[in-house]
Every structure is written in structure tokens, then in C-alpha cells.
Amino acid sequence: MNILGSTLTGQVTENLLLVLIPLFPLVGAALLGVAVGIREDRRWQAGWAATLFAVCSFVVTVKLFLGIGDAQEAFRYTAWRWFESGQLSVALALRMDRLAGVMTLVVTGVGSLIHLYAIGYMHEDESRPRFFCYLNLFLFAMLLLVLGENLLVMFVGWEGVGLCSYLLIGFWYREMPNADAGQKAFVVNRIGDAGFLLGIFVLFWNLGTVSFPELQGLVGQLPPYLAETAALLLFVGAVGKSAQIPLFVWLPDAMAGPTPVSALIHAATMVTAGVYMVTRLGALYVLAPTALAVIAVVGTATALLAATIALAQNDIKKVLAYSTVSQLGYMFMALGAAAFSNGIYHVVTHAFFKACLFMAAGSVIVGCHHEQDMRHYGGLRKSMPLTFLAYLAATYAITGLPFGAGFFSKDAILWAVYSHEIVLFGTPINRVLWGVGLFTAFLTAFYMTRSLMMTFFGEYRGHEHPHESPWTMTTPILILAVPSLAFGFLFGEEFLHFLAAWGREDLNVGHAVLAENATYHLLEMISMGIAVAGVALAAFIYGLQPRLVDSLLRAAAVCRGVHRALLNKWWIDELYDALIVAPLRKVSAVLFSVLDRALIDGTVNGTALFMAANGEIVRRMHTGRVSSYAMVLFAGTIAAIIFWIVL
């Protein structure tokens, strides 16, 4: 049943309903776009309209999703032949199989909830129509990405979500940092996109198609080195979109956007596009073990790095942002271990709990009058109990405490890594990666509990009076809190089974080997213990000994150094700036001033000056007096006559 290695033989049904899924948000975006300038007292309608479109889309998705048969079956809708040139023929076509269906459900489902949440969150903002327009537009692009039948339609969505991300991060464009963050996100994404494009080229020139089903059938013909090349190039795209090392720097900055945006784009959906893409092309990746190893390493490193940074952040959204980066790292670990379905599993659970966390954080931020620094929170569980509950549930899930959603998905990933031979440069590294992953799990538990403690426990340290958020905000949070806690427990096995075609055979839950594997259970215990340890340590430090950290920092220089490094995100932004951006600027400036102005233009103008100098000499012959001209003319005539006579 594993389709990763086989040709597709399943039933493909054309279904017009499929087009409705992206069309609803598109129409919504268009309508809201037109209505950007409506009267102030009508603007409240914008949010509801956008939510309605998102929900419609969700409903259609559910309808279709329930109709999907086995793994090879898919719905398909071809809008029109987009362009063709030579052998290249690209259709604007949508395709929904099980994988796409899952992603679509998450996107529309979580998306709808976040739309609803945004109504409350943004109710004071005067440009709500624009906001919801962007939000719907994002939904449209994301759905294209997910439902794209071929690499190019996916690329459309790929760039489209980048654009919406840009627009939404810079939504409050009057603050320059917001605009900067948006631009940074777009440009960094573009770096990934460039790699993605090159990957497409490699695939096209060697397989002659860009359509996913066709590719899936043809990748087997690729020579290994080309498969590796294509896989790595495409992975560059994923790195950009999913904020992995070295292109993760844009994501924390992206928190400059409104919180619903962070929840939707930078936690639940867009950033997981890389994972989805790799899974989609799983057939290619299984042929490229080195590329997978690289993915695994990158994912692990990212997970660790981000988790360390998250330890010291004081901005609640920053903590969550780095946590997202870290969790994305986990997902890539899974992919690196060829456990694509586990990656997607984590995508889904992560979507639930991280969206929940972000929205809860947003609720806190609103409740505390747009204060984002956790040092000014404290004891909020009393003033905003619903938010607290949701946050608690989500934290429970992410820390990997038993039977939360994160527990199942993360453990599955760790096990996948542990059990899969990942070889880089001839060295098997899966154990190392597993160890690092485990440590990261500990860190995750620690910093998440830290944020929970600092926010909801202890004494309130802020100035303004905090208050609970309206129902439009709390409802989605609470709704999401439920799957955060229960999804893995209730549907985990079914889910993995559903996507088994994209997973490793040996990892299928319920697989005989797995169930009887003692190591598997041991590792489960270990990771559980680690999670508990992390939670306990954080709860101890931040709940009972709030001064411990300070005294620690005061006591040891090493601690201070580490803390500074973490607080400043390992100076990675500064590093990039110094190593890439600044030299590039320098080069550009030099190119402009030296090459362009001085060298080329200098040559040109120099020639002109030389000519002008010559002209200066000749100029003196031209006295401007008619008679001297006439004289010369006449002399010439005489010379001509003499010439004529002599000859």
C-alpha cells in the first residue's frame, strides 16, 4: 500500500466541488478587497464575512474528505491549461488525495477558528476589511499550495502564502520594524523559493513533467545523484518556508504581525508547507538518502537551536515563535527519517496546540493591554481563567506529557529517528539525532512551562488591569484546546493508518514489530520522563523559586554569558548581517559607484571628453563668420575645378 515507491493506479475523479475550496476564500478576499473603504460602522461585518467564507471552505472540504477512498484515490479538478512551451505543459489543476485532504482540513478548520478569533482580536482596528482580505487571500494561497496538482500550482501557493505573510506581518505598516519584518520574511522565503525553482527545473528536464502523480511514477528513473540534487534543491525551498537553519531568522521577526496571523500562518499552516512539500514528493526523497540525512540533521539542529533560544526570551510571542521553529525542526527530523506520515502527524497536532497557544497568548496580550513581556504578567489565571485553561491544555500537549497530542506525535518522531538508519558521510547518526531530540524535548518542556508559570502563576506584575477576552476569542481557543489534549489519544492511530501510504511500513502503529519492541517502550518511558523532568524543573524554578534564576545569573559568569547568548538568539541575526547582508550592500555599492559609474561610465564619458577635446581644436576653425566659411567653400570649389581640369 505504500505509494512512495510505486506508480499510482488509483481512481482519479474529476470533481467540481474541489474548486470551491480555494474559491471561497478567493471570493472573500476579492469582496473584502473591494470593501476596504467601507464605513467605520460597517467594518464589523468584514470579519464575519471572512469567517463565513472560511467556514464554507471547511464544509466543502469535509464533504470531499469524507469521499476520499483509499490512498491512491484522488479528486481532481483542472481549471485550464495555464501555459505550455515545448514539452512543458502546465495545467492550473487541483488534486486532493488523502494527504492533501488532511492538510486541507487543518488549513480550513484551524483557519476558520482563527478567523473567528480574529474578529475579536481585531475588533478595534480600523483596517479590519484589509486584514480579513489578506487573511482570506492567505487561505486561498495555502489551499492552492496544498491542493496543487503539480509543482507549479504548488509554487503559486508557495509564493502566494509568502506574499500574504509579507502583507500580514507588515499589516501595521506604520511601524517601520513591522514592515522590515515582513520584507525580511518575503526575501528569506524567496531564497528558499529560488532553490525550489531549481529543483523544479531538475525534475522537469529529466522527467519531462511537473505533475505530482506523473512525477511519482517517474522518479524511479532518476539517477541517484540527480534525485539527491533535486531533493536537496527542493529542500532549500522547504528550509525557507518552514524556517529551518539557516533560513529560520525571519520567523521570530514575523511575530510583528497581529497575533491571529502568527497563529494561522506562522504556527499552524504556512510554515508547515515545507513539511507537506517534502511529504508530497516523498517518492523522490526516499530515493535520496543523503538528502534525507541532511534534512534530519538540519531539522534536529534547528529544533535544538530554537529551543535554546526560547529558554531566555521574555516576549511571550517570541517564546512561541522559537518554539514553533523548534517543533518544525522535529517535523523535519521525522522527514529525515523517511517517516513522512509522522511528520504530517506532528504538523496536525502542532497546528492544534500551537494555534491554541498563540491565540491564548493573543488573548493574554489583549487582556493585558498589548503588553507582550512575560515579566509584566503573572497570576493571570484568576483574571482570565478560560484563556488559562486553554493555555494549560496546549502547554500540556506541547511539552509531551503523557497522552497529550504532542506526546504521541513527538514520540513517534523520536522513535522514527532512533530506528532509522540515517547515514551522513558514511557515519550513522540516528542515535545522536535522537539524543539531541530528546534533549530538545526536555528544553521544550522547560521553556513552555516557564512561559506558563510566568504568565499565569505568581503575582500580577503589570500595571493595567487585566481582563478576560470576549467569547469570539475564547471559543476558538477552547475548541482547539480539546484536540490539543485528545487528538493523539483518540485519533492518533487512525491518523497514521490513514496516511500509511506516506509512512514507513515499520512505523505503523499496531505494527507487530513495533508493538513487541521493548526498545520502543523504553524510549517512550524515557521521553516521558524527560518531559516530566522539564516541566517539574521549570515549575520549581519559576513557581517556587522565582529568584533562583537571578541569583544564578549573578553568581556565575558562565551563566551570564549563556543567558546573554540565548537572549540575543546566539547573535545569529547579527552574524547574517555581518556575513551576508553587509558585504552584499558593500558589493552593491561598489558595483554601482566603481563599476557602473566610474569604470563603464568613465570609459563612455572619457571617450566623449576625448572627442570634445578634439572638437575644441577643430572648433577654432569655425569662426561663425559667413565670409570665412564662404572663403573656404570657394577655395574648395576652385580646388575641385583644378582637380577636374587636371584630370
Binding site: S628, M631, A635, T637, I638, I641
Partner: protein
């Protein structure tokens, strides 16, 4: 004929000298009128009556009047004008001498047709004949010349019109006609 030819020839050259060397432009102009008149006589002597009459009408009667007109209008005849610098004078004289020598040499030794072999038939100067050729063989050139004159009228009007006084101070076509009249009357 020969006697008249020589007499008027000498007169022509003398008045041409007057044109070139008269210190005052107006005197030059009057000398030129004389030259042109004598040339008309030459034309008449050669039997080109039509051209002779035309010479007087067009040149003496119109063009030179115009020149005299301009000289008077601009008050250019205040005093004898200076000639060019010595260098120009001498080099001009040398070139002209050289040129004249060449021409005379050419006309006395290099003529490619036997002098005097031509038969001057009477109809050559007949206006009827000239007119016939003009509107048959040379019709196109004739029309072009008409166009040229038309263009010249417009050009002269535009050029001579005082910039400080706009050509058409909002009076439309009437003003154009008016100024065209003035200029054309001057020019005809």
C-alpha cells in the same frame, strides 16, 4: 548687334564693379539695378525678348525694389561699410583671380562645342515657345516652383513678423491674411 553687345558689355561690367565696390549699400543696389537692366538689354540682343522683359519685371521691378526697401527701412545706409580684414581681402582677390583665370581658360580653350556653329532660330526667344515648353516639358518643375514661392511667402511672413507683436493676437485667420498681404506686397 556686335557694337551694341560690346557697348552694353562694358557698361554691364562697370556697373557690376559698382555693385561690388560701391561703399554704400544703396549705391550698390542702384548699380545692381543698372547691371540687371543692362543684362536685360543683353537678353534682348540675343533675341530672348521674353526673358529680357521678365528680367526687368522680376529683378529690377520686384527683387531690387525689395532690397532697396529693406535698406531704407533698416536705415542701413548710414555710411560706407568697412570691408573685411586685409587677409580676407587679399585672399578673396587671389581666389577670384584664380577662378576667373580658370573660367576664362575653360571658356576659351576647353569648350566642347564649336563656337558659332549653332543656329539661332528665331523662335527661341519667342514667349509662345518658352511658354509652351514651360507648361509641357517642365510642368512639374513649374508646379514645384509655384509651391516654392508659396512656401517662401509664408516663410517670409513668419520671419519678418515682429516677435514682440504676436502673429495672431487672437484675431484668427484675418490677421494672417493681413500680414501675408503686407509681406506679399513687399515681396512681389
Amino acid at each position: 548687334m556686335i557694337v551694341a553687345m560690346w557697348i552694353f558689355g562694358v557698361l554691364t561690367v562697370l556697373s557690376a564693379l559698382g555693385v561690388v565696390f560701391a561703399p554704400r549699400p544703396l549705391h550698390s543696389a542702384l548699380w545692381l539695378v543698372g547691371t540687371l537692366f543692362f543684362l536685360a538689354v543683353h537678353f534682348a540682343l540675343m533675341g530672348a525678348d521674353f526673358i529680357a522683359a521678365l528680367q526687368v519685371v522680376v529683378y529690377a521691378g520686384a527683387i531690387m525694389v525689395l532690397v532697396v526697401f529693406v535698406i531704407m527701412l533698416l536705415g542701413l545706409d548710414e555710411g560706407p561699410t568697412q570691408n573685411q580684414s586685409r587677409l580676407t581681402l587679399y585672399s578673396g582677390a587671389i581666389f577670384c583671380g584664380l577662378f576667373l583665370g580658370l573660367l576664362l581658360f575653360a571658356f576659351t580653350h576647353q569648350l566642347s562645342f564649336p563656337i558659332g556653329s549653332g543656329v539661332s532660330n528665331g523662335s527661341v526667344g519667342d514667349p509662345r515657345e518658352v511658354g509652351r515648353v514651360l507648361v509641357t516639358d517642365f510642368l512639374y518643375a513649374f508646379e514645384v516652383i509655384a509651391l516654392l514661392l508659396f512656401a517662401a511667402i509664408i516663410g517670409a511672413v513668419l520671419l519678418a513678423n515682429d516677435r514682440k507683436r504676436p502673429l495672431m493676437p487672437g484675431r484668427g485667420l484675418k490677421a494672417v491674411q493681413g500680414s501675408a498681404n503686407d509681406a506679399a506686397s513687399v515681396e512681389a
